[in-house]
Assembly symmetry: none
Homo-oligomer: 201 residues x 2
DNA sequence: TTGATTTTCGCCTTTTGTTTGCGTAGCATG
DNA sequence: CATGCTACGCAAACAAAAGGCGAAAATCAA
């Protein structure tokens, strides 16, 4: 969508306002009157320009047929670093200036947030599949039932559901074919908590 | 992207601010006035440099045609209309100016795209759960295995996997507890194809 | 058909962007 | 130190787009 000039912006704003108020578009004359234009040709030219730039649509030769095309731009989103893969092994190497992903602000946590690509089907029953992108909020503690990025004995990193039970921590894969990992609180380190999932077909 | 000089940074910031405030770009003279430059050539040269370094785009010889190229922050994302719920019943009422959702551009299809909130667990085995947001590309045809929004007999709308088999269409829920729907091609109308999924915890 | 509305056609003025030529200052390099 | 490069600046001439006019033609809806 191309940028507007001052006049075009004024007219577009007026169209917006008028349609919002009346439920239908103004006639050429009403527009001209609003802006003190004595020639409808001028108005018509403006509308044509707005149409060329993709801000409105018009049915040919129909009264009050201008339609605002949804602008759908300028939305709030953040570009999060894509730090690597998660499943097993040691995926989170804080590679500087690696890839990055655009994520809607609503999907991000309050604190530092990053993204990881999921490898394998260990969380399949939690509706997280191979290839999905998980949005991870960087924190060191988790509540029961949350999906976490956990570091085991300073070595392996996995994506599991987190449960604190008496005397130990249970890391539960959401997959019947896999067994839970039960460890002492001292040997597990929470790296982050999954706050969002994104998938592309 | 190459680094900016001090002056270029100032001008880029001003462009940002002006466009954000007015909805259109400043003219060369307005820029020059803001910075106390008496020659438009100076302004012009700055804009050319900014363009060469990839921070702005300009249409040739067009008024107020400078456009900021999306930088790291506030990255490329679209605001798609959230048209309602999908599961069964008739969810897609093209409610104007209803809610909307911010979706990364990468998740959107090429054509018109909108979002729906998923109700129920009919697609649970496809890793789409109750409450998820599906990004739907508006089209009328689908390939085998794609997840589609289908309209049955002009009445019910459902979210199913699509299979064209000899003589009929099979709409397959991804849930063992549910039976597939088998209908003739004439009584099913594809409304759109799911191209993305988003979930927030 | 008639009245309301939109399109189109010249022609004009104003606004805006582009180009060329010239000049200064800072900085790095050979 | 001279040389060349880049950033930054001025002024004027020019070209094109944007904004505007009035009238006539074309279209649509009632």
């Amino acid at each position: 969508m191309q940028p507007l000039t001052k006049r075009q912006r004024e007219i577009l704003d007026y169209l917006n306002e008028f349609i919002d108020e009346h439920g239908y578009a103004p006639s050429l004359e009403e527009i001209g009157q609003r802006f003190g234009l004595s020639s409808l040709a001028t108005v018509h030219k403006h509308l044509t320009n707005l149409q060329d730039k993709g801000f409105i649509r018009r049915a040919w030769n129909r009264s009050r047929s201008v339609e605002l095309v949804p602008t759908r731009m300028g939305a709030r989103a953040l570009e999060l670093p894509l730090l690597g893969y998660v499943a097993a092994g040691v995926p989170i190497e804080a590679v500087v200036s690696a890839e990055s992903v655009v994520v809607p602000e609503e999907l991000c946590g309050a604190r530092d947030t990053y993204a990881l690509r999921v490898r394998g089907d260990s969380m399949i029953d939690e509706q997280i599949r191979d290839g999905d992108l998980v949005v991870v909020e960087d924190r060191r503690t988790a509540h029961n039932g949350e999906t976490v990025i956990a570091l085991l004995d300073g070595a392996d990193v996995t994506l599991k559901k987190f449960y604190r039970e008496d005397g130990h921590i249970r890391l539960q894969p959401a997959n019947d074919a896999m067994a839970p990992i039960i460890v002492s609180p001292s040997s597990v380190q929470i790296q982050g908590v999954v706050v969002g999932v994104m998938r592309r077909y």
